[in-house]
């Protein structure tokens, strides 16, 4: 009867014992966790899937109810509710206004399953324009600021100008449609279509022709399975991740493979397939759902785990094989060497990337690896492999805190330097996590400001 009382915040479901040994947990004492205040924001009636930052203190949320809501990130106040889509929203992106333009209106583009794309003004809440001539649902949007055009990717790829005129479009690419789209140099874009990466080149109108055109330049067929994530790392390279856990780093200029990691998150597939199948019963346990990067590393969310891939060393330098109870959906790197991940298990975890120098020197008890998630190997096969793994990871991801608030999968989060963290979830809620001490100080400041305004504060002459 008291089990739930004594137990921590763990979920007592499914492979409880397995997880207990593998999943790192942190107690209730989290001294380094700064988020000691939360504010629940309620406006959506369905899963909230997207969060997009508008400026320093505003963000927009969008979800399956077709609603876009603009919030104040400081106070949690609901600023605007944008009604226009009849079905769930599939993509949202901010549309930066032109530098030359006088009025600095904050615009956003939203695409929905109702096969429309709407351009909103986030200051007035008005619908600026609506396009509804799509043959298929637009699944991704990207803005090429340099050319002042935006692209929509569904079953085909369309190029639009600021006034929402269709400039050109490709032929029908596939029924699954474009799952991801990024811009690379030389007026090119990379689109992930199923297992393929297709590179298109945009031809802007020049002297001769007045027409825009988009040309398929190359198809890259190196992935074995559907490409789930696609990201620009820097000017020189971009990275893709697939359903079966292939991570490929590509050169942006000549579109060649710079590096490739297969199976690195699963170092022992050959050892005992029976065992592996039992442990990682779901294929999406190794799918790469999200990628993020900084100057040195690419951070990869692989299934339930987190991996840090060093670009220079071209290998994984730290990993957390079971970072969450369930799929990791979104990760982000904070400036202070911290990594935040959110997952289908409804939790958000904060990690810190630390050097592991002293660990290599001493003999490490096996219990340690058990704790960190490496203890899943069979007894007889474990010793040599463990050594190898130990050498491979020179850093470690340490759990410094977790945020528990949502009762369902946390779809995405947004980090504000000044205001904290915003998370959105399938439980229809958005939670604003704040640093309690800082908020308390801010409130004091405001209090004395108000006192001064009211004339209740007497300042020294």
């Amino acid at each position: 009867m008291l089990r739930w009382l004594i137990g921590g915040s763990r979920e007592p479901q499914g492979l409880a014992e397995y997880k207990k040994s593998a999943l790192q947990t942190i107690g209730e004492e989290q001294t380094q966790n700064p988020y000691t205040e939360l504010l629940v924001l309620k406006a959506h009636h369905d899963i909230v899937r997207f969060l997009v930052r508008l400026d320093d203190c505003r963000f927009a949320s969008a979800g399956d109810d077709g609603l876009v809501v603009v919030w104040n990130a400081q106070t949690g106040e609901k600023l605007l509710e944008l009604n226009g889509h009849t079905q769930k929203i599939t993509a949202i992106i901010t549309f930066p206004s032109l530098e030359a333009c006088e009025e600095k209106n904050q615009l956003i583009l939203t695409a929905s399953a109702d096969r429309t794309v709407i351009l909103w003004n986030c200051d007035t809440g008005r619908q600026v324009q609506k396009v509804s001539c799509f043959q298929s649902t637009v699944k991704c949007l990207t803005v090429l600021q340099r050319l002042d055009v935006w692209l929509s990717g569904g079953n085909d790829l369309c190029v639009w100008n600021r006034k929402l005129d269709l400039l050109c479009k490709t032929s029908h690419l596939s029924d699954t449609g474009i799952s991801a789209l990024i811009e690379i140099p030389k007026n090119c874009v990379v689109a992930a279509v199923g297992k393929e990466l297709i590179i298109f080149r945009l031809v802007a109108p020049i002297e001769g022709s007045l027409e825009w055109d988009i040309l398929e330049v190359k198809r890259l067929l190196d992935h074995q399975d559907n490409i789930l994530s696609l990201a620009n790392i820097n000017d020189l390279s971009f990275v893709t991740g697939s359903h079966v856990g292939e991570l490929i780093i590509w050169d942006t200029l000549d579109w060649t493979m710079q590096a490739c990691e297969h199976n690195f998150w699963d170092p022992f597939p050959q050892l005992d397939t029976q065992q592996e199948i039992k442990l990682c019963q779901k294929p999406n346990d190794i799918s790469i759902h999200h990628l993020t990067w900084d100057e040195e590393n690419v951070f990869v969310a692989v299934g339930r785990g987190l991996y840090v891939y060093n670009l220079q060393m071209k290998r994984v330098i730290a990993c957390q094989k079971t970072a969450h109870d369930s799929r990791v959906l979104h990760i982000a790197k904070l400036p202070n060497r911290q990594l935040i991940s959110c997952s289908e298990d409804g939790s958000v975890r904060i990690w810190e990337l630390r050097e592991k120098q002293q660990m290599a020197a001493e003999p490490v008890p096996t219990g340690f690896f058990n704790m960190w998630g490496f203890g899943r190997v069979n007894k007889q096969a474990s010793q040599p492999v463990k050594k190898q793994q130990e050498n491979a990871t020179s850093c470690l991801l340490e759990l410094i805190g977790d945020l528990i608030g949502h009762s369902s999968s946390v779809e995405m989060f947004l980090y504000f330097e000044d205001h904290g963290l915003v998370t959105c979830s399938a439980d229809h809620l958005i939670i604003l996590w704040k640093n309690g001490d800082r908020e308390s100080g801010l409130r004091s400041l405001k209090l004395f400001q108000k006192l001064e305004e009211n004339g209740d504060l007497y300042l020294a002459a």
Partner: protein, 936 residues
């Protein structure tokens, strides 16, 4: 919340001290002079001498033109209440007091009868034979059939306690005026209706007469009129005259001065009538038309009757009842108002006074009082908040604040005067320029409640001493002048300079003396019982010293603040306030301290000037120490701590506990249900609730909650961490199968839950669905159903998932899962070995402890230097360490107590900054601290 009425009532009689331990002698300042009537060993709560009724009641009497003065009804309408008291005799007494009623008649210069809209008169009157004292409110109602169209009535509040009537005069007057206004409004309406009917009758009669005359004229063409014809003609003429007169009356009643309606909170319908009337007045000369248009009248068509020339004899007709006179709707309202009055003034005078003081003090704590006050105070808080905005602008002039609150003076008063009495007196001199003017000013400043108490007391002596007769009219006052004066004072006193106040006070006193007259005396001196004669002067003496003795007053203040602040085991706490002060001083040397100290001084200063009736004044000082806690409290708290009273003596619970025993004996002693005695111990079901408009149910709620909280504390050894959870804003989930038990405990524990705003407590008594994160943001105390079904799995799962936000009290298994608590605050708040036995006493104990806590939170929140960096380069850590040391050293908080004050401070900040209170929910604050499982 602030004051425990029971402490006031404690007397020094030895027979009550039956406690086994050797209690130290009660300090002089705690004792109330023995009750004058109790020389035969009676207790102060027994029936007052001579009174033949068991409790106060309201009597409505009429001076009937047929049978003379007669009682009409009493409230409560229960013969037990007035017992053997002779209502007829008393009606005669109160109605025989002449008043300024002017009757309708033909004034010299006017052809028609003229209605006078007479002001009500208010008289205080004593009948020593009956042992009854009454506030008598005379009013006149109009009745077409009555002599001179008027029927004199009076409403009397009859009490055995003369001082109660005297001291509550303003309140009584205000409340009775409302009732009277209902009666008169209804009466005007009914009178107008009656007039209209009469006009129709007259009109009809005229027509009939006219036809008859014509017929006679025709029948009789002899050129001379028969006597019959002449008679008819005369009759017709008198009917014509009567019509004109009645029309004029109707016009008069409709043109009732509208200004009198303004400000009286009558139903808006009446206001509309009033506004419409100027237009209607001219048209009323035509009765037919007015029947359609008049808003007063919406009744079925009236069939006119023929009016006989000679009316029936005066004594044959049946006079209208009060209800008929006043229109049923208004009559019901009046009765409701009167029973409200009866509720409001139930109980002992000291109870009324303390609760008034309590309310007055609460009004001053407008920044913190939302935290733990009950919603019963909501309406008051609302009015209070309306008045706030005007305050700063009025007394803002910085020059004045600098002048009146020089910092060096504070230092002197803190440092060099040992005695609280001394230092306070000196303070008075500094502020007002002289001791002698203080009293005057005090009297003057009674702008809201006991306006002009001293005057009445003076008068009281005059009346009784000089006449010594069985009926004394002790004081009268014109209602309008009194009310307008108090209004203007409320707004004016604040900005006035001391000189102005003083002169105004003097003039006020003369006015009130003029208005008091001994109006009538009764030659039956022989009727006064000897014992009354003997004891009466002593009562006067008591009052005299009560009102005039400043020392006593200040002692009283000191003792209260001590009981709230000083308990020996607190150690550093005793000096909290003085240290708080010294911290400010210390800061001063840092050179930017002025901004900190000055505002506090001005605040306290301004509060000192606002609205202080005499008895309230000393409480006012206490208000300083609760709310602002810097200067005024210093002398007293320091003084008291140096005297070192043991804690027991100061524990109100202790006082009550000993009183409880005495109470039992009281109950046995008094054969009838002694209302007064029940009043004394604030714990019977019939406990008076004058302070709370919501009435006895609210008192009962408090009592029950206190009782159950006490039970919880005694039953569960882990009550402290649970209460700490509530105080620090961590949601406490009470889990159990039995709804009744869970609800009971939740209600009990809700007294510890700080509010977000003044609207509702964040308490959810019973939930059976799984909780959400939003519930923890919204509720701070939740009663949760444990279901013995698969559904409970998800409920429990949610609880364990959100365990970091909650403390879980499992009633079925008697376990508590929550963070560790090692502070000293809660043990004092909830001591399982407490001697407090009664729920309501414990409730008061909790409230006073929480008030103290609020004052700490207030100090912490509004100390400027604690939250803002002293200069730009100061790092946050420095500010944080300053806060920590303030909380620890100045406020005397240890370990987890700090978090309680920090949480309250956050609530204060949010509440202060909220534009429209109650609109937004505060954020959920939490800590990452480990929880522990407590078992019995």
């Amino acid at each position: 919340m602030i004051s425990a009425p029971d402490v006031v009532a404690f007397t020094k009689e030895d027979e009550y001290e039956e406690e086994p331990y050797n209690e130290p002698a009660l300090p002089e300042e705690y004792s109330v002079p023995l009750f004058p009537f109790t020389s035969q060993g009676a207790n102060p709560w027994s029936k007052l001498s001579g009174a033949k009724f068991s409790r106060d009641f309201i009597l409505i009497s009429e001076f009937s033109e047929q049978v003379g003065p007669q009682p009409l009804l009493t409230i409560p309408n229960d013969t037990k209440v007035f017992g053997t008291f002779d209502l007829n005799y008393f009606s005669l007494r109160i109605m025989s007091v002449d008043y300024q009623a002017s009757f309708v008649g033909h004034p010299p210069g006017s052809a028609y009868p003229k209605l006078n809209f007479v002001e009500d008169s208010k008289v205080v009157l004593g009948d020593s034979k009956e042992g009854a004292f009454a506030y008598v409110h005379h009013l006149t109602l109009y009745d077409l059939e009555a002599r001179g169209f008027v029927r004199p009535f009076c409403m009397a509040y009859i009490s055995a306690d003369q001082h109660k009537i005297m001291q509550q005069f303003q309140e009584l007057s205000a409340e009775f005026s409302k009732a009277s206004e209902y009666l008169k409004t209804g009466n005007r309406k009914a009178f107008a209706v009656e007039l209209e009917k009469k006009l129709k009758d007259l009109d009809y009669t005229r027509t009939v007469l006219h036809t008859e005359t014509e017929i006679q004229k025709k029948a009789n063409d002899k050129g001379f009129y028969s006597s019959q014809a002449i008679e008819k003609a005369n009759e017709l003429a008198s009917v014509e005259k009567s019509i004109i007169e009645h029309q004029d009356l109707l016009k008069q009643i409709r043109s009732y001065p509208h200004r009198k309606l303004k400000g009286s909170d009558l139903c808006s319908g009446e206001m509309e009538h009033a506004q419409d009337q100027p237009d209607q007045a001219p048209t009323t000369s035509n009765p037919d038309e007015c029947a359609d248009t008049d808003l007063y009248t919406c009744r079925p068509a009236y069939t006119p009757k023929l009016i006989k020339a000679k009316s029936a004899k005066c004594f044959d007709k049946k006079l209208k009842t009060l209800e008929e006179l006043c229109d049923t709707e208004y009559f019901t309202k009046t009765l409701a108002q009167l029973s409200h009055i009866e509720h409001m003034f139930r109980g002992d005078l000291c109870y009324l006074l303390t609760s008034q003081i309590d309310r007055a003090l609460l009004k001053q704590q407008h920044i913190t009082n939302f935290l733990f006050e009950d919603f019963a105070d909501d309406d008051r808080m609302v009015e209070k908040q309306e008045s706030i905005p005007s305050k700063p602008s009025q007394d803002r002039p910085p020059s004045r604040s600098l002048e009146e609150c020089p910092i060096p003076q504070v230092l002197i008063s803190v440092g060099s005067y040992k005695s609280s009495v001394e230092s306070v007196l000196i303070k008075m001199e500094q502020e007002f320029g002289g001791e002698d003017c203080k009293e005057v000013e005090v009297a003057e400043m009674s702008s809201f409640d006991l306006h002009g108490n001293l005057d009445y007391l003076d008068m009281d002596m005059k009346g009784s001493v000089s006449s010594g007769e069985s009926i004394e009219v002790l004081g009268t006052e014109k209602p309008t002048s009194a009310l307008s004066k108090s209004d203007s004072q409320a707004s004016l006193v604040v900005p006035l300079s001391p000189q102005v106040i003083r002169s105004k006070a003097v003039s006020h006193r003369t006015i009130s003396e003029d208005s008091i007259e001994v109006l009538s005396t009764c030659p039956s001196e022989a009727l006064i019982p000897d014992d009354f004669k003997a004891s009466y002067p002593s009562a006067i003496n008591e009052e005299e010293s009560y009102a005039d003795d400043n020392e006593g007053a200040i002692h009283f203040q000191a003792s209260i603040s001590l009981s709230k602040l000083g308990e020996p085991e607190e150690g550093s706490l005793e000096n909290t306030l003085s240290q708080a002060d010294s911290c400010c001083i210390g800061k001063e040397s840092d050179s930017l301290l002025v901004p900190l100290t000055t505002p506090i001084h001005t605040l306290s200063d301004e509060d000192g000037v606002v609205s202080i009736p005499p008895q309230h004044y000393r409480q006012k000082d206490q208000g300083f120490c609760v709310d602002f806690a810097v200067e005024n409290a210093n002398p007293s708290s320091r003084d008291n701590s140096s005297e070192g009273f043991p804690a027991y003596e100061l524990d109100p619970g202790q006082l009550l506990a000993s009183r409880d025993i005495s109470k039992i004996s009281l109950d046995n002693y008094s054969d009838t249900t002694s209302y007064v005695s029940s009043v004394a111990s604030t714990s019977l079901d019939r406990t008076p609730s004058s302070a709370h408009p919501t009435g006895p149910s609210f008192e009962r709620h408090k009592k029950r909650a206190g009782q159950n909280a006490l039970k919880f504390i005694r039953q569960y050894p882990f009550a402290h961490p649970a209460i700490y959870s509530l105080l620090s804003g961590r949601t406490l989930v009470v889990l159990g199968e039995d709804e009744a038990i869970v609800r009971k405990l939740v209600t009990a524990l809700s007294i510890f839950v700080p509010n977000y705003s003044c609207y509702a407590k964040p308490v959810k008594h019973w939930v059976s669905s799984p909780l959400h994160i939003t519930d923890f943001q919204k509720w701070k105390l939740i009663g949760l159903q444990r279901v013995a079904s698969p559904a409970s799995a998800s409920t429990l799962h949610v609880l364990s998932r959100y365990s970091r936000y909650t403390s879980i009290l499992d009633l079925d298994n008697k376990t508590l899962r929550c963070p560790l608590y090692r502070g000293t605050l809660v043990p004092r708040l909830a001591d399982h070995r407490t001697q407090i036995k009664r729920g309501s006493t414990y409730y008061l104990h909790v409230q006073s402890m929480l008030t103290q806590l609020c004052s700490k939170a207030f100090l912490y929140t509004f100390c400027h230097h604690l939250h803002l960096p002293a200069h730009n380069k100061e790092i946050e850590e420095l500010v944080a360490s300053r806060q920590a040391s303030f909380l620890k050293l100045n406020l005397g908080l240890v370990n987890e107590d700090v978090k309680v004050v920090q949480y309250l401070a956050e609530l204060l900040k949010l509440h202060y900054m909220q534009e429209s209170p109650g609109t937004s929910q505060p954020m959920l604050r939490f800590d990452y601290v480990p929880s522990f499982l407590y078992k019995i």
